[in-house]
Amino acid sequence: MKKLLIVFIISLSLGIFTSVKAQCVDFAEKIGLTLLNTEVYQHDGYLNSIVLESGEHIDVVKPFFKGRKYRIVVIADSKTFEYVNFKVINSNKIVIYNNKADAYTSIWEFIPQESENLIISVKVPDAKIGMSRACVAIITGVDSDY
């Protein structure tokens, strides 16, 4: 009986965990792709979605090619976080964009002058009280008509 209960609890936890992940993907597809505006920007095929706890950060490493027009969208579904901070860093470790300078906007568009691998580093802020979680997604597209 005890074993059955343990199996049930584990299955339930796994189910909830999978469901949270699936919800995160749904959120990234619905909100992220809308903000990307797929009629103009061709999505690159990556949702980069993950559930993060307060204070955690993730990085996306991706090549960007000169002369193309890119849109980067960074979103979080939690109301407990006032903002999500993202920085774009080049291979010389220089921060070429920080959304803090734009009131923590979710969208940044740019045309690279050089082809290079860039890092999009995203951090959710520390919670004021306790721990909070949020689904975060980083979505990129290129303007195919540019």
Partner: protein, 286 residues
């Protein structure tokens, strides 16, 4: 006297305003200079690092855009090869490969061929447990709307996106990486074959050189997945390719300095690089 005072006051205001602007722009410069990140530390502390290689439609667009050369279908992986892929690793690699083949075929206006590749991508996705990635109605819709290339790219992006998300959410991150590596390698393989046909035009040679950026990412993927046997087996092949790439890119850059032409030596180096790409691609498809 009063005018003189006003004049001095005016000058002082202008001077202060100028200094303030100057100081602000200096601060901006200083801030830009010091706004750096300790990348090693950053990566170490990251909860997760996502590596985004160019996806199949992206790699086709990058390498084939504005190219008027006639497409050689023999270059693509054979549709009938699908039955060879029994392990999930091979299936994931070839899901990426067939998706890239679809992208190249559809960009080249080879509609029926492209549909066959899409059907193969769907079959492999199903074998890998990815359900509902593409309904039969979507394929039928495609057959009727083939002139809309943007929609086609949207469809293959959807297949890629759903597969990638499925792998990552089901503890199969290695398969997501293999799909990306397979798709990118196929794109590079097709481009190297096209370069021969395009008589080594600067445009295609330069586009291929730019793809070395993705090599850096593949090497990072391999180094951060040393415990994944399905990935580690390609380590030596990609290391060799990277070394060849470095030499080729240097030679090409030297040739093209001051508007020069591509030398025979660089072409020979390119052919040697193309052989390595073909070797890796054959490892994936056979």
């Amino acid at each position: 006297m009063r005018n003189k005072k006003k004049y001095i006051l005016f000058l002082a205001i202008v001077l202060i305003a100028f200094m303030a602007c100057n100081s602000e722009s200096n601060n901006q410069v200083v801030q830009n200079n010091i706004d750096t990140v300790d990348l090693e530390n950053n990566f170490e502390q990251a909860t997760k690092i996502f590596y985004n290689l160019p996806s199949p439609p992206d790699v086709a667009d990058l390498l084939l855009a504005n190219s008027s050369v006639e497409f050689n279908l023999e270059t693509l992986n054979k549709v009938g090869n699908i039955d060879l892929y029994e392990s999930s690793a091979k299936q994931a690699l070839n899901l990426g490969i067939y998706s890239t083949d679809f992208s190249f075929a559809s960009l080249s206006g080879q509609d029926q061929i492209a549909i066959n590749y899409l059907a193969n991508s769907k079959k492999l996705a199903k074998k890998l447990g990815i359900v509902g990635v593409l309904g039969q109605d979507t394929i039928q819709w495609l057959a009727r709307n083939f002139e809309n290339k943007d929609s086609l790219m949207g469809i293959i992006t959807l297949v890629y996106r759903r597969s990638e998300a499925y792998f990552n959410d089901n503890g199969k991150g290695d398969l997501a990486l293999l799909m990306a590596i397979g798709g990118w390698t196929e794109g590079l393989f097709i481009a190297t074959q096209l370069a021969e046909k395009m008589e080594f035009s600067v445009d295609i040679m330069d586009k291929i050189a730019e793809q070395r950026l993705s090599m850096d990412i593949i090497l990072q993927i391999i180094e951060s997945n040393l415990k994944e046997p399905n990935i580690i087996i390609y380590r030596d092949g990609f290391k060799k390719l990277n070394e060849k790439y470095l030499t080729y890119n240097k030679m090409l850059s030297d040739d093209l300095k001051d508007g020069g032409e591509i030398s025979e030596l660089t072409i020979a180096e390119f052919r040697s690089l193309a052989e390595l790409v073909q070797g890796l691609r054959n490892q994936f498809t056979n």
